[in-house]
Symmetry: C2
Subunit: 245 residues, 2 copies
DNA sequence: TAAATAGTGTCTCTCAGACAGTATGGG
DNA sequence: CCCATACTGTCTGAGAGACACTATTTA
């Protein structure tokens, strides 16, 4: 850094510029009662007080090293879960989406295993797990209906060409359960043989050799062969029409 | 809106909260000399004065209705092009990417037809079209090397499963040119017959019945059957392994 | 009619879809 | 031994890859 640049930075006062409000919002998804659910929070403050909203809040430039940290902080506050799958969906910033002023929000979605939740957190009055289809019929705060639509569509798209939905399952899962998660996200039944052929060929799951107690023939339990992180490159688990070569 | 809420908003002063700096950066791509190029700007101001950077700037909450408008404004300033293909890539915000403070940038990429550029704009000293591979070897300002990597990867990914690269071509184009664009983006040769079968089956291009003058057999010219916008759902133009069903 | 590029015919092999069939547990 | 659910065998049809072949232009 040159002296010239050092002088410039000393004289620079970022607070002189009226930038937008910066927030992070989250669509936290889990599978529950054979359907995709999302966590909604009842707003306790103005604006839109009393309406249901996606969890979120302002970026805290003192506490959060980056937006990912903001998202993890919010997620831990609401669910107690520290290491979910977290993926940035989109950023929406405009002058009219928040009455407080020009507001910019970075939207994330998180995938969690419903069983990993603390059961105590179920009976909180201002938080509710809601079926995504029902949530989209509610009069959500701000533009959260749009945000939820985008997050849900992203997840459904990824079910088409990646193995990401595995992150909605517990550490050990059966292939029948896995297929069901994909069917829920895709909204269509899948062919059992094809599904199994592909997920096994993809080499992303392995048998544990264990089963869960069952009244019928118990299904083999599987686990991931490696962890799934954002930008992982698993082959998809459903057949998509080949691309335009 | 309730009286209660109105009172809250009147008392609200957004400038009291020290939010992050909010900027928009752009990777503007075109095909040139048989390679993917990106527009770089030499920074005239601190910080990182004199280093090459992606075009971009602060969100102007008075002029820009939303971040898309900021991106279009920047694009028009640098290229004079008003209606490119524009797509949001990612948002990066952290405390250490800009010495002026906690800075959040929304990254877009734009695809333009090189021939649509005003030739005058070629000889500007502080702007340069650079081969993307070369650009990534330069010591770019801030974290723009990371940003450019992400934008270029997104474009390459989309070449795999969408018809988006057609937006790098002029209004009329040949199938051989189209195939070449895909090959540049994918970094691998494609099978001519398969490519043609797929692009024609996709029903996204149609013959114009015209040709360009040529020293050899002239190629048929095609045009898009409909415009490509963000979130369009064209089938891809290359063969991808089917997803995990 | 030669050269060069545009564009096609057609074989093969892979694999998704379909679905009937077998396996394995508890009652 | 019956039932329900887990899991497999196998046929078929679609279509991607490969590549040799034909077509069309100028010189």
């Amino acid at each position: 850094m040159t002296d010239d640049e050092r002088k410039f930075l000393e004289a620079y006062d970022a607070s002189k510029f009226a930038g937008p409000l910066a927030t992070v919002d989250m669509a936290i998804f889990c599978i529950r009662d054979d359907a995709l659910h999302v966590l909604l929070i009842k707003r306790g403050n103005h604006p839109d007080k009393g309406r249901w909203a996606l969890p979120g809040g302002f970026v805290d430039t003192r506490r959060d090293a980056d937006t990912h940290a903001t998202a993890l902080r919010k997620l831990a506050e609401k669910t107690g879960i520290a290491t979910p799958y977290l993926e940035q969906v989109v950023t929406v910033g405009s002058s009219n989406r928040d009455p407080r002023g020009w507001a910019l929000t970075v939207l994330y979605f998180a995938l969690i295993d419903h069983a990993a939740l603390n059961p105590d957190s179920e009976n909180v009055e201002d938080a509710e797990w809601v079926d995504v289809h029902e949530a989209l019929t509610r009069d959500l705060a701000f533009d959260h209906r749009d945000l939820l639509t985008r997050a849900a569509r992203r997840l459904a798209d990824k079910a088409r060409y990646s193995a990401l939905p595995l992150k909605l399952l517990p550490a050990e899962f059966t292939l029948v359960e896995t297929q069901r998660v994909f069917e829920i996200l895709l909204g269509a039944p899948l062919e059992k043989k094809s599904f199994r052929r592909r997920i096994l060929a993809a080499d992303i799951v392995e048998e544990t050799g264990r089963t869960r107690p069952s009244a019928r023939r118990p299904a083999q339990l599987y686990r991931l062969t490696r962890d799934i992180q954002e930008d992982f490159a698993f082959p998809g688990l459903i057949h998509t029409k080949p691309a335009l070569l």
